[in-house]
Amino acid sequence: MRIYVLRQLVLLIITLFLLTIFAFCLSYWFPGDPVTNSSGIFSDDTMRYADAASSRGFDGNILVQYWHYLAHLFRGDWGISLLDSDPVFEQLQLRFGATLEIAVLAMLIALVPGVALGVLSALNFRKPIDHTILSMSLSGYSIPVFWFAQIAILLVAVRWGMLPIAGQINPLFNIEAVTGSILLDIFINQPENMGLAFRSAIRHITLPVLVLSVMPMMLLIRLTRSSMLDVLDKNYITSAYAKGLSTRRVISSHAIPNAMQNVIRELGSLLSLLITNTMIIEVIFSWPGIGSWLIRSIYERDYPVIQGGLLLIAALILCVHVALNLIHAWRYPQVRKDLHATS
């Protein structure tokens, strides 16, 4: 196991390293001046421009420049936005928190019903329950998220007025952003009307999280169902019955744990989809996350922000993949046999 962890971590570090090379190259591939692209300082601001050029090693060769790029990266100096001159790194931190908040919550909300419905439908294979769940998951999966989000706003927020339309919290609450995640921020800020603030924040977060959780939930149902059907056919299920265990026991201690093995492996690819959807949701719900910011930056050709945002999201997906691999190996011993971290 120790060797497996080490291999996975080495793999992670190497991949992250390659990722920084790619991100570094972006400043040259983007149109315009590499110094501006990487630092966010225009050449008409002569003093600071010269400063940035020299501190980023632009008088040296490409390796020197890359070295300085890495140094800036680790120092947390990711340049400033071309649009509003906000430091990219600080902004990313804040917005990243907001993104993680809805993405993680959506995942958590999707996880339990998704797996439960998948198991239920596998246990009732080809019975009416199975057909119902399956058609529900197929239609839920086929509805485009941007359309679904707008319908949800139209019905729930506009017509019925049950929940707010957009935003993180009622702007009357003066919550200073520390982590970017609104729920955590309220807790850190400890405003006098904390209960009300929480209420407002939860009302704001409900709709985007629910809309966002639909797609992963539907995918999870299908994943769990097929994996469960696979496992139920396995010989060790027969032998568990032969031991005289009850159906409930066989399902809960043999079938589900084994079925989860495939599901955990697939969670990684689900995550990339989830991040993409999060970006769309953030734009629709004016959620101040990394996605809406990144999409705006792409429109406005705000290169330092694009560069930083891409780097962060790619690194996040990588880290989650490695973490899932490790969980997978920790929980499922026969994976460890495969010492060479292949995936």
Partner: protein, 331 residues
Amino acid sequence: MLLDIRNLTISTHTANGRVNVLDKVSLQVDEGEIHTLVGESGSGKSLIARAIMGFLSPRWDVQADRLWFQDIDLLNLNAKQRREIIGVDIAMIFQDAKSYLDPNLTIGEQLNEAVLDQDLSASFFKRKAERKEKVISLLHRVGIKDHEVMMNSYAHQLSEGAAQKIMIASAIAHRPLLLIADEPTSTMEPATRQQIYRLLAQLHARYGMSILMISQDLGAIMQQTQRLSMIYSGQIMETGPADVLLAKPAHPYTEALLNTSLYRHAEMKPRARLPTLAGAEPTLQHLPIGCRLGPRCQYARPICVKTPVLEKHRERQLACHYPLHLEEDHE
């Protein structure tokens, strides 16, 4: 009589209509008996075992005049009643034992499950320790001395023989009256097979448990086999004491199978042809009417299109219109 099966018919729907995969199979296992059921693959041996255990999926239609274990009708049990018998009084081991072990649980955890609560005497808090003790003694009983290592192993770390021993350990956890062994050694090399046979014979001798052994090779059955049943294409051909059947096969099928076994031909000439049954086992879509061996039987005559009934001939039972060697028996 421990297990009494009379006229067990298992049928299924196919594109060509209803097919009786098992055709009026009768099989009896006495207390403390090792009974071997021999038949080629596809002859329905495993179906019998699964019908006894109640593992058959609903697409199989099971009918029988009797499917009794002691005085319990196995055909009409609800799930709860079945659990009181399966894994308690009837246990089963399988071919390809490794795939019958959960890959994600240690051997110890899986054996823990096999030890039933009702066999534990200690109070709730000492149960865990008692359970572990039981598991260790189970492992010792199947000849595994290194119990600590074994209990922490996973299925993929075991050899086929060791995995089968674990299956046996889990099967005998409650001292079953009947152990059904569905080709437990067919994927093993001969030395391991003998090991497993010896272990089963030991358990049989020590606890007097009956064994219904299912095998596809007449040349590699357990030496201790007391009764032998031959099944061909879902019909029982001949059943009787093993030594009688092996010495004087009365059914053409038994004889044909014996002839294909090399041990009977120590005096065979070099490069001689090994006598085998002509043709191949019929597929389910093209089952012959009457005696299913008919088309391949060298002694077959027109009357063989009528299914012969399993009849008693002294100590054996036979389903054949023209049995062999029986005249000598009557001398």
